[in-house]
Symmetry: C4
Subunit: 205 residues, 4 copies
């Protein structure tokens, strides 16, 4: 085949990569609910047991919002692309792999949050570790876009730079939240939720 230019341009169209990524994100966000199982309630106790599942609802809400923000940010990036290369495809696949992994630490956190003790803290730290991986893979993807100007439309560089910085900040925050989980799992979850809300309210133009 002939197209072996230095840029190593791919034959994958940006639109299809975006559609595939949107699909994975939409599925991961919707699978979150499968991790909440129907409680096995004794006579008359269902209402209370449904209430006792609040860590599941909270973890669901935080992960749902987090993946939703990822979709928004991912879409903002990919709509600027005029082509994708090999490096983009596989960094994007790594990002999707960590996002698609999120239902598992979400379920772990929901199941162990109220148990207290070191298990609750381990669950919160494991969730934070996954979020570090997600943010870092997002940052690596954006670094790649910044390093490869021919991928994006002219004039996108300021925004790309700002997104690289945003990813680095997210990695740092989630690393700190992992530290918080050593003190309190509930406090760590509060940080995860606050980060999601803060990113949701961040002005994106």
């Amino acid at each position: 085949m002939s197209d072996t230019s230095p840029q190593q341009q791919s034959t994958i169209l940006p639109g299809r990569l975006e559609a595939f990524s949107d699909g994975v994100l939409a599925i991961a966000i919707t699978l979150l609910i499968l991790e909440i199982t129907v409680p096995d309630a004794d006579d008359g106790s269902l209402w209370r047991q449904l209430g006792d599942l609040w860590p599941s609802y909270l973890a669901y809400a935080v992960s749902f919002l987090t993946i939703g923000i990822m979709w928004v940010n991912h879409h903002r990036m990919t709509r600027r692309l005029i082509s994708v290369d090999h490096g983009f495809i596989y960094r994007n696949l790594a990002l999707l792999g960590f996002v698609a992994f999120l239902p598992f630490p979400t379920a772990v956190l929901a199941d162990y949050l109220t148990e207290g003790g070191s298990n609750a803290k381990a669950a919160a730290a494991f969730y934070g570790l996954t979020m570090v991986a997600v943010s870092a893979s997002f940052g690596l993807l954006w670094l790649h876009v910044r390093r490869t100007p021919e991928l994006s439309a002219p004039g996108a560089s300021a925004e790309v730079h700002s997104d690289v910085v945003g990813s680095a900040i997210a990695v740092a925050i989630y690393a700190v939240a992992m530290g918080v989980s050593i003190v309190s799992a509930v406090a760590a979850l509060a940080v995860y939720g606050a980060v999601a809300v803060a990113f949701a309210f961040r002005r994106f133009d």
Copy 2:
């Protein structure tokens, strides 16, 4: 970045937001079946046990129809959009979060409907509570569209107003159905089904 106009226009294209929302709705509606588990039947009793699962089939049918109607209504709204803003994206995400939650209360209702007693009533009320949240988030999304005329094509205001009213009616009906569930879980499920059928037959132009 420069586009900090008062409208705070997003860089998300309405078409992609619609495709993402369609994906979440299509997945949520198809995941409903995973909540029905194969019965553990003694020799010769499978046919009867499959019949005993009628609450599961009924809950499946009501939730499937309800999410289907939501897809129709959501599509009717989004096809009128000429742009989406930050407020729309996150109100829409809240709506999707409640719809994607529906497989869980559906499974709770299916499992406890025939148990009778307060557990059945709690299950029916929990389902209604979720439907109140879905309808209210739908109404808030439509209120936002009504308050932000630059989002939708000219001439859509009459329809948007009618949909805000429709959402408010739905909230009221589901709240009443929650009250019905205090008397009878089966009666409450009948109301949920009747609401879905009524909305399905509603003339939309």
Copy 3:
């Protein structure tokens, strides 16, 4: 609203209805695998136990092929549509509801096929009953298209008629296969597979 003509045309675009239906079919076909669970094998017995799961593999293959054919047939229909109406949307939703239900009878059949006795027969009959419902809802959808000429492009009537007939034949075959299941569950599954293969080889132009 103004568009209250007798045809009661919908504001749903055929392309989006097709995309939503494709999504539900793609999800239902991919969820089939979740119904096969990892065997709990004693030391050294895993290979044999994986072999003992042949009813699961067979049921998976038959249902996968069947939903695949449904996708082909559904696509052949919808690509002829120039508009969809209210009746089409809800008949289509009923069809999707039965197709999305298929993972459940598939799992029931896989679990009880080799148990023999009346449970195996009940499982096979239940699978057939679902297929009757799928075929009948397909036929009703096509009948609606035939009765509503303004929905489809000119020149499609011969094909639509042929598809109504095809659906009626499918209903009849699956009803007969349900009768076969009274004699033998394995024989009934063979009929289900043969029907899928026959429809797959059917020349569609």
Copy 4:
């Protein structure tokens, strides 16, 4: 019907076949996580038990990368298509059926990898067997494209030939890896991972 020309052209548009295939691949890749279940940890042991799940993470990573590569290769093929015929649709369905099956052998491998003994080897061989089936069905699909020049755009023949060869190589490698699994399950998994990485780094132009 009239269009019974020798090529037996289908009425399925390549774009919709591609969208359906993308959907199945995106769902299969995202369902992989559902096979990892939350460990039932005694007090204080969760962090260690999460670590003990490394075979699950490894199997997840290998299968995720493998399906991702399949998506890339599948997309490279389908974007060259100018029409699809009956033979393409059903060979493609067979390929999707094997890919969508992958979450099951992935879960089997994850559950039995560290058990050692013949069960671990059986799990690794079963995974390899599925990969042989996936590669072989990919090769058969590409052979069909090579044999049917009217399906693809002019000038694609060199690439199609190279992909047929690539599929044959993959079949051979996975067959060898099945042999490796007789010696060591972990070594076989290493081969599966190495193959995925090698294909990911393969230059595609």
